[in-house]
Amino acid sequence: MQRAFFTKLFVLFLLGACSSVQASNVMPYIISSHDFYRSSPDQLPLSEQMSAVINSPPDPIRINQLSPIRVAFLLSDSALNIKNKAMLHTFERRMQELGIAYQIFIFDKLLKGRLDNPYGAIQQDKPDYIIATALDFVQSRVVEKVLQKGISKVIYFDLSTPLANWKYHPPLMYVGFDQVKVATTLASYIDRQLPQKAPISALMLPSGYLNDVRCNSFLDAMADRNRHINDIQSVSNKQGAFEAAKRILQKTPNAFIFSCSQTISEGVVEAIAQQRKTQTTPSFPRHSSTELGDTSLFAQTNSWGMSPHELTNLSHRYVLVSSLFMWDDLVIAMAEGIKGNMEGRAEPALYVGRSSIMSPEQDNVSLHLMLQQAYRYSKVLQ
């Protein structure tokens, strides 16, 4: 029975990856954080406790380790990716601060088929903890097998919606952000900022978890606010986004283009920047906070807080609003989860990280401070 569900899930993923015609739907297979806490009320205090631990100075582990713990990281793409690098750095640093002896095994580029038998390869290293970083078919398959065997403990990174199918063999911890909430917040902000008739387009991700959870939630939230979105397109990379944005801007130069991911946002920003350069509107305001209100005159997009030029984009009004995720908090939660597990304490099965939005209305100092807070361990890398 369970296998049949998993098989169905994989088929859906495959369909999502391969077919753009028939949109898949992951919603029936995930449990929202809200539903999770409602069905397990005892988890909420643990989660709040974890939030307090994350925001307090590290407390070293109180047990004597006989041998270093072995932690395996499953990465879909390269370990050198800035996101992954930041994650590893933060993790290592927190582990050191906690005084836990550890060994890290990294299995990267899994989605690109670097390993023929990822499960076998991982098992060879006999990790105590496996950290899965994305809900793709490779990692989910490996994790499923690990959970079934019960050899290692799994922490799912960047996934705040526990999977219903793993209800009876759950991972040690899910850590992630509430994407629906972020999308709804964004929609609310944009709705307030843009004039009623302002043209809005949306560049969505191809069918998949993030598309279903984040992009569709944004569309629903906008529909709920009676906002008509003129153009909806799916793009899979930065180039696609750039081109799509350019097409949109040609039709409606002052459109607000919703970007559903950081990559898309970067493409759109590029297209907007290009449009600005070509138009060279003399009236375009520069660092003029007094004219910020008139957002319908020029094209803008949104960002997801991971661009190296985040503040610049904001100040240049390429970006109307940026979502900021406390990525380092997630990693710290993983380290603290491992520590608590080693000590035998109860740890929350789900930790939802904090997120906020950055807007041009805020002054630079505040925005800097916000970024510092979000990347308090990994900022050294940037």
């Binding site: 015609v21 029936p28 279903d212 939630s217 799916s234």
Partner: protein, 852 residues
């Protein structure tokens, strides 16, 4: 008496009650358990059914999603003309009419929306307003204004080539969807399903089979429904009618039957076991109660107690035997039919034939049978005497009745040997009493005291009295010493009279009236009289007669004993006490001193006979009391005796006074000092009646030795008895008819006048043989004149005019003569003037004047 109980039956009933109780409890508990079991089974099956309903619901949603995908794909891939898109869709897919989706709505991105015509069948609301809250790829619950509750599913229409086309909205009605409801009911075979929104409490779907009613007994389960509907908290009620399944009843009844059989078997076993282990040995043990050793420890105290009782009874029996044999009495115990039960040796000796007798009557003499039967009937104090001549013994038997152990009246005969006793008493009777009896010794001190007191008597007491007193004393002392006694029978009244006469003859008349009360009834009892009694009476009478200051009264009564009571103001002197005691002793009498100096003597005398007390029912007495003291007492006595009494002050009054009496049976003439008055009157009566034997009785306070012949008399004291006696004698003579002197002639009535005048008139009128009556006044003329309507009234003193006139009016024949003239004398009064003192001539002249 307490009702006895059967221990065995009690035990059996108690055990039965226990088992019945157990049976009922088991029945009740088992019913509850079975009921609960079935209910929990139903509930658990309902929970399973809920899962099925949930699955059916989800599969329905899944199918609808599939339809949505199908339509979406058709719309993306098909190149339909905008206006005909719906027609084409329906034309291509018949399943749309019978599918899960109730209706759909296509919100095209760049053209007008297409609305499924079925939408109007579900709601009149604006559809876009309904799907405002819809979520992409999620089912969301929406409610229309007109009460339709719908689930809406939003799907993006996005093709790779065509790009974003718009949204497809699919709707499923919840509260108006028979297909869904039937599927839910059908899937789990339940009678009713209710889907409720937990947040708002609204019922989203409610459907039951046709004849389902919630008022019947139902079993329901309310469980949270987990669905894929976005942000919803639903509850599912699965309801099944709770008809008590026959299987439950069957199972329960089967169980009960088995339980009953098991308990019955157990009960029988237990009862048998109890009988065998407890009651049978108990019965055996009771049979062997007397054996020395009982096999059961529990019965030992009982046995000990029983043997103790046994010993106790034995000891009692021995004591009883000992008592029977040692009592020197003949004892016979008989039962209710007089059969001899127990008999002691002495009784056996008396009645040797008792063994052959059936009852006590067979060997006892007939004379005592009545007594025994009386005792058998419950009479108490039955005694009889039996003389056994062959043994030469006498036994006094006493019969006691008692209730025997069977509850019947039985009899105990105790015979006491009284042979010696009787013999001795006879011997004693033969012996003469001793002359030297202590009580007859005179106490000299007492006598001396009395004599000293005598010497202190006043001089006024005549010497004769002293002499008499001493002679009486000496006579009494002499008689006291004398041993032989003259015995005779005499009535009490006569005895009293004789002794009084004897005493007076010695002492002379008493200085005061003696009161002796002796009623006719008491006086007429005849008793045996001896010297002692005589002397006792003399002493008692002496106390009466003796010259003391105080008056004494002697009352004689006869109840069982002769009681003589002396009430006096002063105490009786010690000598007389001694004397009375000395005389009482041989008479077995006793004396008592009561309060207020009342002295009482009781003499146990046997009434020998009674004098006849015949007397004419009524007699008429003329009581001429003259100077007799206390004439009223005599009158009261006469009235007590039933006589009619006419009292007259004097002889003259008797002759003069008019009376209605035609004949006097007896004439009592009293006197104290004036003895001649009696004699004169008797003489007058004799003359008048012309015979010597007249019923005339003289009453005198002093003894009169010269009583006339043919005249009865009582002297000294007068009691009822004496009066009776004398009247009875007098009544034997012919009665006396009163003859007034004035009856043949004209009556003369003399009014007023001094004593001297009256004396002159009286003597002169006597001489002239004129009968006269004497009145002080004429005020009571009504009592006289009716008898003398033609009387001659001589007024010696002036009288009221009115009175004279009224008399004249009433009695016109009455002639009034005045001897003196007085003022305003009425005309009807004739004046025959006389000069005082009146002389015989004048009176004689008046007579002649009147007659002329």
């Amino acid at each position: 008496m307490m009702n006895t109980l059967s221990l065995q039956r009690r035990a059996i009933y108690r055990i039965l009650a226990l088992f019945l109780g157990t049976f009922f409890i088991v029945s009740a508990v088992s019913f509850v358990v079975f009921d609960r079991k079935i209910e929990s089974k139903l509930k658990s099956s309902l929970i399973t059914k809920k899962q099925i309903v949930e699955d059916a619901f989800e599969s329905y949603l899944g199918r609808s999603e599939y339809e949505m995908s199908f339509i979406a794909q058709d719309l993306i891939l098909g190149n339909y003309e905008p206006k005909k898109a719906l027609d084409v869709l329906f034309g291509h897919h018949d399943l749309l009419f019978f599918g899960g989706l109730d209706f759909f709505y296509i919100d095209w991105a760049h053209r007008a929306a297409s609305v499924d015509p079925r939408a109007r069948l579900y709601t009149k609301d604006d559809i876009p307003s309904l799907f405002k809250k819809a979520k992409i790829n999620r089912w969301v619950k929406v409610s229309s204004q007109d009460g339709a509750i719908l689930l809406v599913y939003k799907k993006k229409l996005e093709g790779k080539q065509k790009g974003f086309l718009g949204y497809l909205y699919g709707f499923i009605s919840l509260n108006d969807n028979l297909t869904l409801a039937s599927k839910l009911l059908d899937s789990a075979k339940v009678d009713m399903v209710v889907i409720r929104d937990t947040k708002t409490g609204d019922i989203l779907l409610k459907e039951g089979i046709n004849n389902m009613s919630l008022s019947d007994g139902v079993v329901s389960a309310t469980i949270a429904l987990s669905t894929s509907i976005y942000d919803s908290e639903l509850e599912l009620d699965v309801i099944n009618s709770d008809s008590l399944p026959n299987s439950l009843l069957y199972q329960w009844v089967t169980f009960i039957v088995w339980a009953f059989i098991a308990l019955t078997a157990l009960y029988i076993c237990l009862v048998l076991l109890v009988r065998r282990l407890v009651f049978k040995p108990l019965a055996l043990a009771v049979g062997e109660a007397n054996s020395t050793n009982l096999p059961f420890i529990e019965l030992e105290p009982l046995q000990a107690q029983s043997s103790q009782y046994h010993q106790f009874l034995k000891a009692k029996e021995r004591r009883f035997k000992l008592l029977l044999e040692s009592s020197n009495n003949a004892v016979i115990f008989c039962n209710e039919v007089a059969t001899v039960g127990t008999i002691n040796e002495e009784a056996m000796r008396l009645f040797p034939n008792y063994k052959h007798a059936r009852s006590v009557f067979d060997f006892t003499p007939i004379s005592c049978h009545q007594s025994i039967q009386d005792a058998l009937k419950g009479e108490v104090g039955v005694t009889f005497e039996l003389t056994f001549t062959q043994l030469n013994v006498m036994y006094q038997w006493r019969a006691y009745s008692f209730i025997n152990e069977n509850g019947f009246r039985s009899i105990l005969l105790i015979g006491r040997d009284t042979t010696h006793e009787k013999r001795l008493s006879w011997q004693l009777e033969q012996l003469k009493p001793s002359s030297l009896q202590l009580h007859r010794h005179i106490e000299v001190d007492v006598l001396l005291d009395e004599l000293i007191l005598l010497s202190r008597w006043p001089d006024s007491v005549p010497n004769e009295y002293f002499r008499g007193w001493l002679s009486v004393l000496l006579t009494l002392l002499e008689d006291l010493k004398a041993e032989d006694s003259d015995q005779c029978e005499q009535s009490v009244g006569e005895l009293l009279a004789n002794e009084y006469e004897w005493l007076i003859s010695h002492l002379g008349g008493p200085s005061h009236i003696v009161h002796i009360d002796c009623s006719v009834a008491v006086g007429s009892f005849v008793i045996e009289v001896d010297n002692n009694l005589r002397n006792l009476l003399r002493v008692l009478l002496m106390l009466m007669v003796a010259s003391d200051v105080s008056q004494r009264r002697l009352t004689v009564e006869f109840d069982d004993d002769l009681e003589i009571i002396i009430s006096s103001d002063a105490e009786i002197r010690p000598f007389w006490y001694w004397m009375i005691n000395a005389l009482l002793h041989p008479l077995n009498g006793r004396q008592r001193k009561l309060r207020n100096n009342v002295f009482k003597v009781d003499l146990p005398l046997i009434k020998k006979a009674m004098q006849s007390t015949d007397l004419t029912d009524s007699f008429t007495v003329a009581w001429v009391f003259n100077d007799y003291p206390e004439p009223e007492k005599i009158k009261e006595s006469l009235l007590r005796l039933g006589g009619r009494v006419d009292a007259y002050l004097s002889t003259d009054a008797f002759f003069m006074q008019a009376s209605t009496v035609t004949q006097f049976d007896v004439i009592l003439i009293g006197s104290d000092e004036d003895i001649d008055a009696q004699r004169n009157m008797t003489k007058a009566l004799k003359g008048q009646q012309g015979r010597d034997e007249l019923p005339v009785v003289w009453l005198g306070t002093k003894l009169c030795s010269t009583i006339e012949r043919g005249v009865l008399g009582i002297f000294g004291y007068v009691s009822d008895y004496q009066l009776y006696q004398v009247i009875a004698q007098a009544c034997q003579f012919d009665g006396i008819t009163p003859m007034y002197l004035g009856s043949q002639q004209q009556a003369w009535i003399i009014v007023g006048g001094s004593r001297v005048s009256k004396a002159i008139w009286y003597s002169e009128l006597e001489r002239l043989s004129v009968s006269s009556q004497w009145l002080a006044t004429l005020s009571e003329y009504g009592a006289i004149f009716p008898y003398h309507p033609d009387a001659v009234v001589v007024l010696l003193e002036p009288q009221p005019v009115e009175l004279l006139q009224s008399i004249q009016e009433n009695f016109p024949n009455v002639c009034f003569y005045a001897v003196q003239k007085w003022a305003d004398m009425p005309d009807n009064v004739r004046l025959f003037e006389m000069n005082s003192p009146f002389s015989g001539e004048q009176i004689s002249a008046l007579k002649h004047h009147v007659q002329s």
